[in-house]
């Protein structure tokens, strides 16, 4: 019983509840259109990218840093894959694996720069953001690259009982990330670095290694997002990735991942991404202005941050009241 009441108070539960209620009310007001196979398919298909980039941001937040280059890394990687298939006519699987590798490498470079310069990830990824946007433009110019094999584009159209293949890819990735953070020794060290770098260092954890790994993992996840992008769109142009930044932060932060590090919430990030999708659906359904979506998401993110800060302070006060220390 205590377990259940504890669960009811978690952010994950609130988000699940919010999603279910939102979905039901949208389904009812749409007269059931939302429940059609086509609607479910498109709802889930457009959820894949937000989940993946939310996770990519989450793993960097876990060490108390930010990755501003999420979109630029994804856009540049997609452009690289497209050009490989068009110019060099490389086999599809080679292009995909190369994309994963290239994105992982970008993450590793971010991590290396952060660790070797001692600067915050904010500054470093702001720099790589600008560079990679340039790379993407150089590869794409003002064209849309779509002369790669149709088999690539077809993959994104496959579905199993109305569940799109790309959504399945995103969920499998999320499950792997969740399993990794739940059980893996390296992931625990990453979290220890985020939770308290001083204590981590004095407990034999290498903080530079943790930070490097978090950025590298972020890159790998962006690689998966880039693959999903290229398989689900008709072509790659210079705007790919341009709108990823806000949603990459929105999902993990709404899920309660602290900006100060030490915490991950994979299920929460997935559910938060789903709730944000509902806002999009609502806009389409009621023909609201597109700016309403950004306005709503921005407001929700700010109030979530304020709420978690308030909770943290309250926990601190309670903790002080019950611990026997004076602060001599």
């Amino acid at each position: 019983m205590k377990f259940i009441t504890k669960y009811l108070r978690t952010t994950e539960f609130s988000l699940s509840l919010l999603f279910v209620l939102g979905f039901i009310s949208l389904a009812l007001t749409s007269g059931g259109v939302l429940l059609s196979g086509q609607s479910i398919r498109s709802f889930l298909a457009y959820l894949a990218i937000p989940i993946l980039i939310g996770l990519a941001q989450m793993v960097v937040l876990a060490v108390g840093q930010l990755n501003l280059a999420v979109g630029a890394m994804g856009g540049a990687t997609a452009a690289v894959m497209a050009q490989m298939m068009i110019v060099w006519e490389t086999p599809i699987w080679v292009a995909m694996l190369s994309g994963l590798f290239v994105a992982t490498l970008m993450g590793a470079v971010n991590g290396f720069l952060v660790v070797s310069t001692g600067l915050n990830g904010f500054i470093i990824t702001l720099g790589t953001l600008t560079i990679l946007e340039g790379v993407q433009y150089a590869l794409v110019r003002s064209f849309t690259l779509n002369a790669y094999p149709d088999a690539v584009k077809d993959f994104g159209k496959i579905d199993f009982f109305n569940i799109p293949s790309i959504f399945i890819v995103a969920i499998i990735t999320a499950v792997i990330v969740a399993w990794f953070f739940r059980t893996n020794v390296v992931a625990r060290r990453v979290l220890a670095t985020g939770a308290n770098p001083l204590a981590a260092r004095l407990s034999g954890v290498s903080n530079p290694l943790s930070i490097f790994l978090a950025h590298t993992l972020s890159g790998a996840l962006i690689g998966v997002a880039a693959i999903v992008t290229i398989t689900s769109l008709g072509g790659i142009n210079r705007s790919i990735g341009g709108d990823w930044l806000l949603s990459s932060f929105a999902a993990p932060i709404i899920a309660g991942v602290l900006m100060s590090g030490g915490v991950v919430a994979v299920y929460g990030t997935v559910m938060a991404a789903a709730v944000i999708r509902l806002v999009d659906i609502a806009r389409a359904q009621y023909s609201l202005d597109p700016s309403v979506v950004n306005f709503t998401i921005g407001t929700v993110v700010l109030s979530t941050v304020a709420l978690s800060e308030w909770r943290r302070r309250r926990a601190e006060v309670i903790r002080q009241r019950f611990s026997e220390d004076s602060d001599e």
């Binding site: 059980t183 893996n184 020794v185 390296v186 625990r188 060290r189 979290l191 220890a192 939770a195 308290n196 001083l198 204590a199 981590a200 260092r201 004095l202 407990s203 034999g204 954890v205 290498s206 030490g262 915490v263 926990a315 903790r319 009241r321 019950f322 611990s323 026997e324 220390d325 004076s326 602060d327 001599e328």
Partner: protein, 507 residues
């Protein structure tokens, strides 16, 4: 002389601890009063109340004849109480003048009046006889100069009472002399000064009267310093209550040296420091705060550079690059002084806090660490150390100080270290848990571990260490076999601290 500041029956409690218990102080204009006491005696609490950091307390604070209570540090400043803290409170990129007038920038039509600002700063500096250039950027000053600027800053507002919180903790002897002449000047001008220090010599040099706090009580209340000898002051600070506890003699013969330092010099200022820590012994490193004990250990662990000398482990010369190497390769554990800042992950479960040092050992295929294995390890130590919790899945941040300290000890025991350094283990912990902790430390040595105990708590030292080495100014100034006779040991140790110097090192 008139009474400027009177503290009457001031008490302040934190859950489980009475930090101040009916403290009385009288401070007159033109008087320099020493405020002494060991760590945890209540000095910081008193200062925090006087400067408005803590708003609630029982009893009265009377300033210039009328009762006051400050609801913020700013209110205290406005009422005329200035304070110079241990930590620098200057803005490094601002000029001296800008810092001095920070609280009240002179302005004209909303713009800063530069001429007036420099005038005001100059005046504050002149009144102290200081020749520092008001236009100099603060970060270009020496630490001692910054200290003096801080005093000038405190005096720029109408300051009646100046609190100096360990002003000489990080400056050299000749710089301290300059500071003392400034204090003498303040006395002439009629400012009342409350001087907090751990250094008895300088207290006898600059102070007129003395208040000693012990366990939150004022055991000497604003009495003339001339009435006391050094040893009487020390006895008042240290007390006897804890020392009279039942002594436990350990009959285990210490073994081979586990850790040896030979003529080690560090980047922090230790020169030619040597020691030998034996298996199965508790070696105490005693000294006042800032003597360089934790810094020595941290250098050995690779956190600060060692310039010369050798470190030997089990007779072999080694180079320790970082804490990771110290732990996994050389089996040295370090229970830190600040358990909350450095010892624990407050947001993690007890389970993870204990297992952090053994994750590497517990991992299976693909680096998987099972929750079950973690729990097995942590529950073993929760039981053997008597950590009082309902579950190992509780968050470490929600534990009491004593239990937190045990958790941070447990993680090193779990790692099966052969050498353990325990830094100020019982600060802020209640008496009963303290005694329990002392037993634990002696048990560890009985099991053959080499224990290096750093403590500023002399009764604690005398009741658990086998040998006591005394450090002062980053040098060892004495080494004693512990007879566990408190009177004898405290005299020897205090003598070493007072008379020992770099040149006459006895160790």
């Amino acid at each position: 002389m008139s009474n400027v500041l009177v503290v009457e029956e001031l008490s302040k409690s934190f859950p489980g601890v009475k930090a101040l218990d009916k403290v009385n102080i009288t401070l007159r204009a033109g008087e320099v009063q020493a405020l002494l006491g060991e760590n945890g005696a209540g000095k910081s609490t008193l200062i925090k109340i006087l400067t408005g950091v803590y708003q609630t307390a029982e009893g009265q604070v009377i300033l210039n004849g009328s009762p006051v209570s400050f609801d913020s540090p700013l209110a205290a400043t406005k009422a005329g109480i200035g304070v110079v803290h241990q930590e620098r409170n200057l803005i490094p990129y601002f000029s001296v003048a800008e810092n001095i007038v920070l609280q009240e920038q002179p302005s004209r039509f909303g713009l800063i009046d530069v001429r007036k600002r420099n005038e005001k700063a100059r005046k504050a500096l002149d009144s102290l006889g200081l020749t520092i250039d008001p236009d100099e950027i603060v970060q270009n000053l020496s630490v001692a100069q910054m200290q003096l600027v801080e005093i000038a800053k405190a005096l720029a507002t109408e300051t009646r009472v100046l609190l100096l919180d360990e002003p000489t903790a990080s400056i050299s002897g000749s710089e301290a002399t300059k500071l003392f002449s400034v204090v003498a000047k303040l006395r002439e001008q009629g400012t009342a000064v409350l001087f907090v220090s751990h250094k008895l010599e300088e207290v006898f040099e600059v102070c007129d009267t003395v208040t000693v706090l012990r366990d939150g009580e004022s055991v000497i209340e604003s009495s003339p310093l001339a009435d006391y000898s050094r040893s009487e002051i020390v006895a008042a600070m240290v007390g006897r209550t804890l020392a009279d506890r039942a002594k436990r003699f350990r009959d285990v013969e210490p073994g081979e040296p586990a850790l040896e330092l030979r003529n080690v010099s560090t980047v922090l200022g230790h020169e030619d420091v040597s020691l030998s820590l034996l298996k199965g012994e508790v070696l105490g490193l005693y000294g006042l705060v800032g003597a360089g004990r934790s810094e020595l250990v941290r250098s050995v662990l690779g956190l600060h550079s060692i310039l010369s000398g050798q470190i030997l482990l089990n007779g072999q010369v080694v180079k320790i690059g970082d804490v990771r190497e110290a732990l996994h390769r050389y089996r040295i554990g370090y229970v830190t002084e600040n358990r909350k800042e450095e010892g624990l992950f407050l947001e993690f479960t007890i389970n993870r806090n204990i297992a952090v040092t053994v994750w590497r050992k517990l991992q299976a295929w693909l680096g998987v660490v099972s929750h079950k294995k973690e729990t097995e390890v942590s529950e073993r130590f929760v039981e053997s150390l008597g950590i009082r919790i309902s579950s190992v899945n509780q968050l470490a941040g929600n534990l009491s100080g004593g239990n937190q300290q045990k958790v941070s000890l447990a993680k090193w025991l779990a790692a099966e270290t052969e050498i353990i350094v325990i830094d100020e283990p019982t600060v802020g912990i209640d008496v009963r848990t303290k005694a329990n902790f002392h037993e634990l430390i002696m048990d560890l040595a009985d099991q053959g571990m080499a224990v290096l105990l750093i403590s500023s708590d002399l009764p604690e030292m005398v009741s658990i260490a086998d040998r006591i080495m005394v450090m002062r100014d980053y040098q060892f100034v004495g080494e004693f076999a512990n007879s566990k006779d408190y009177a004898e040991m405290s005299t020897q140790v205090m003598e070493a601290i007072q008379t020992g110097s770099k040149r006459t090192a006895a160790a």
